[in-house]
């Protein structure tokens, strides 16, 4: 038993905030999925597709993703350093600023304040707020690790450190802009150069917001949940360094066949293919870890969240490089295939690992067990079915769209007008809304389960003879 307390209240605050923003982001997602097939569901000016779509992506990336990263990474940092946070009050202040920032972010996007760069829509005052948040986060990550009691840094810590550094560089460079008032700015870079900077950022923010911190959770919570050690330390090392090296070269695969110089496009494509190796390093490591005892899939309800999560990571990191190839890109780029790809990563990989990790953390904070493993199972299957229905539907319609755009008659004239190609999407877009609903219901089961676990834990705290705050170092 240790003589100190972990900063569990702050961790739980981040987790609950992430879940709240997750619900908001998913509801916005459902609305915009309806707007795609029912234009009357646009309510101008604030609730139109054009304004809601960035609110959906930012709300989920920064709100759900950011909250989960802050909470779970700080949790990992404390446990692996064997000490509480170096600046506990700073972390508490960060939690408050985080929620104020995300609320302002969503509202400002609905008001139409946007830089128009994908995943970097927020205007400059909010960009600065995010910088402050990140500095607060970095101070606790680096400070706590520097004062750790465990000499060796475990692989999860490498990924946390990589996340903090890379996101800082990406965020600052791409958000450089010329302010033209409090609510308006212009990207400092223009034209082709602007495109290149934005997709260097855009691809890597996915890499270092939705890959490296999630891998940190995977490498920490998979062994903790199953009691099985990571299969290969050497493979972890290889994967880590080649991933953080290779990622940053690949942004141009978003600009294939654009006016960007060809050499940059080709360089981006080549490194994208290279990335399969480090990505699958982690996939193989994960599979062989559980491979030591597959019965854990049956005996431990958490195992499947991590196994299916890393499976989608593996599929995602093969599909991505495939899309980067010119011959594939020309067919699927600009189509609904791409949202299908993105949602396999977010609804599959990220959601599975993050919710699995939260299921692990919340009971431990309260010295109890999960409220209901059965509800967790229902949540798992609904999320899985919803995500698969979503992605597969979008891949089919994406290929159809791409093929119809390209179809020509014998004399070289086009076979279909644009509206004909659009109208063919409607059945698939209806299906996507259904898929989103299934997913959303699954997530509500998750939220309910977590809240009930906390309630169960609080009831225990009230009873004599328990000391949940002094839970052993897990």
């Amino acid at each position: 038993m240790n003589d100190y307390r972990y900063d569990n209240r702050t961790i739980q605050g981040f987790i609950l905030s992430a879940m709240a923003w997750g619900v908001v982001g998913i509801l916005i997602g459902l609305l915009i999925s309806v707007q795609l097939w029912a234009p009357a569901a646009n309510f101008a000016p604030y609730l139109t597709y054009g304004r809601l779509r960035p609110a959906h992506t930012n709300g989920l990336a920064l709100g759900l993703g950011g909250g989960a990263i802050f909470g779970l990474c700080l949790y990992i940092v404390m446990r692996l350093s064997g000490r509480p946070l170096l600046f506990p009050r700073l972390a508490r202040a960060q939690l408050w600023l985080f929620n104020v920032t995300i609320a302002a972010a969503v509202l400002s996007l609905l008001a139409g304040y946007t830089q128009s760069n994908e995943y970097a829509e927020l205007e400059w005052p909010l960009d600065l707020a995010v910088v402050v948040l990140w500095v607060m986060f970095a101070a606790n990550v680096f400070g706590t690790i520097a004062r750790r009691r465990e000499p060796q840094m475990y692989v999860a810590l490498w990924y946390v450190i990589g996340t903090v550094i890379a996101v800082a560089i990406l965020w600052i460079v791409n958000n450089l802009s010329i302010p033209a008032g409090l609510t308006k700015s212009y990207h400092l870079f223009s034209g082709v150069n602007s495109a290149n900077v934005e997709w260097w950022y855009g691809h890597n923010i996915v890499g270092f917001f939705f890959t490296t911190p999630i891998l940190a959770m995977f490498y920490y919570f998979l062994p903790k949940s199953t009691g099985l050690p990571i299969f290969s330390h050497r493979l972890s090392i290889l994967s880590f360094w080649s991933l953080v090296f290779g990622y940053l070269w690949t942004g141009a695969h978003h600009l294939v066949y654009s006016p960007l110089p060809d050499w940059l496009q080709t360089l981006g494509i080549v490194f994208t293919l290279f990335l399969i190796a480090p990505s699958w390093g982690s996939v193989v490591n994960g599979y062989y870890t559980v491979g030591a005892d597959w019965s854990k899939m049956r005996s431990n309800y958490l195992t499947k969240f991590f196994v299916i999560g890393i499976t989608f990571y593996g599929l995602q990191t093969v599909q991505g490089p495939t899309q980067a190839l010119r011959v594939v890109s020309q067919l699927v780029h600009f189509t609904d295939w791409v949202p299908g790809h993105v949602h396999m990563g977010t609804m599959g990989w990220v959601t599975m690992v993050v919710t699995g990790s939260i299921y692990y953390v919340i009971p431990r904070i309260h010295g109890t067990t999960i409220y209901s493993e059965r509800i967790a199972d229902v949540h798992f299957w609904l999320v899985l079915v919803g995500q698969l229905l979503f992605s597969v539907t979008m891949w089919i319609t994406g290929i159809q769209q791409g093929a119809m755009w390209k179809a020509t008659n014998a004399d070289g004239t086009l076979k279909y007008t644009f509206v004909e190609t659009l109208a063919k999407n409607y059945p698939y877009w209806h299906t996507r809304t259904l898929a989103g609903l299934v997913f959303a219901v699954g997530m509500l089961f998750f939220v309910y389960n977590v809240l009930m676990t906390i309630r169960k834990g609080r009831a225990l705290e009230g009873s004599p003879g328990s000391s949940p705050a002094a839970a052993p170092v897990a």
């Binding site: 033209a180 090392i237 791409v338 020509t408 644009f418 109208a423």
Partner: protein, 328 residues
Amino acid sequence: MSGWIYRKSFAFAVATTVVVLAGSIATMAYPMLRADMHPRLEALKPPTPLQLAGRDVYQREGCVGCHTQTVRPLPSEVARYGDYSKAGEFYYEHPFLWGSKRTGPDLAREGGKRPDGWHRRHLENPQSFFARSNMPSYAWLAGRPLDPAEVTDHLNALALVHPELRTELAAVRVALAGKDEMDAVVAYLQTLGAAVPRQSPRAADLSIPNPVANDPTAIARGKQLFADNCAVCHGDEAGGQEGVAPSLVDDVFLGQRPDLPDAAYFAMISGGSDAKPIEGRKGQPDGGMAAFGSQLPQKDIWSIIAWIRAEKAHEAAEGAKAPAADHR
């Protein structure tokens, strides 16, 4: 990688930073120093205050979420939209608005393709042109005033990197007088692709006869094709729509009398407004007719003309009673 670095957190952080910076410098920072990242087409003009205000509205409403602005160098894409996008077209674009999803069509070559009135009516009610379109209505942009002080601030900000924009500052108030956000967006849309000359149609031989003239099958087919492709602008019975497109069944063609031969119609449908000069007619300053040469096989175009001729004859027979009605 030797083991000590996993025990030294500072050294580890430095190593990670170096590794992350390698690709960033090679693919993001270094290209900025190269001329091929900052090209500018000679014909490219800086935005006027009204056009910039329109682009601001385009940004604010997230139009980039559904409309791309890059034509890829693929045959089908060039056929659908026009010449593929050139790097030098985007010199003044802060940021680029190429987009990543084409829920609606690409707009890179939209400028000059259709008249202002078409855009206005389409923005007000997209479904009135394309029944199955999923674009929301932007009718509410009409009547929303433009703020000269705001546009001045925006021009000033851009002038920090493009000093030539300063010359427009004095004219902001005049340029925006009496204009609303709808006017601004339409003005902006009309600039898209303006720096790239559209391929002008080849000279047409006006003596070629219509190979399917008076052929009942062709006329029936032409009627269907007209309904699918032309009626959105020219009206169901080719009677025209005020401010959008002229009647095709009255005795005026291209604003003049007398009528022209079928081959002139063919050139117009195939090449769009750009074909007007080769027919000796002046083009409208704000564009007009879209080109269908890449969308419709030649025989289909001739069939449409055959149907128009039949309608014309029909209208002339009836027209003795009243002048051609303005179908609206």
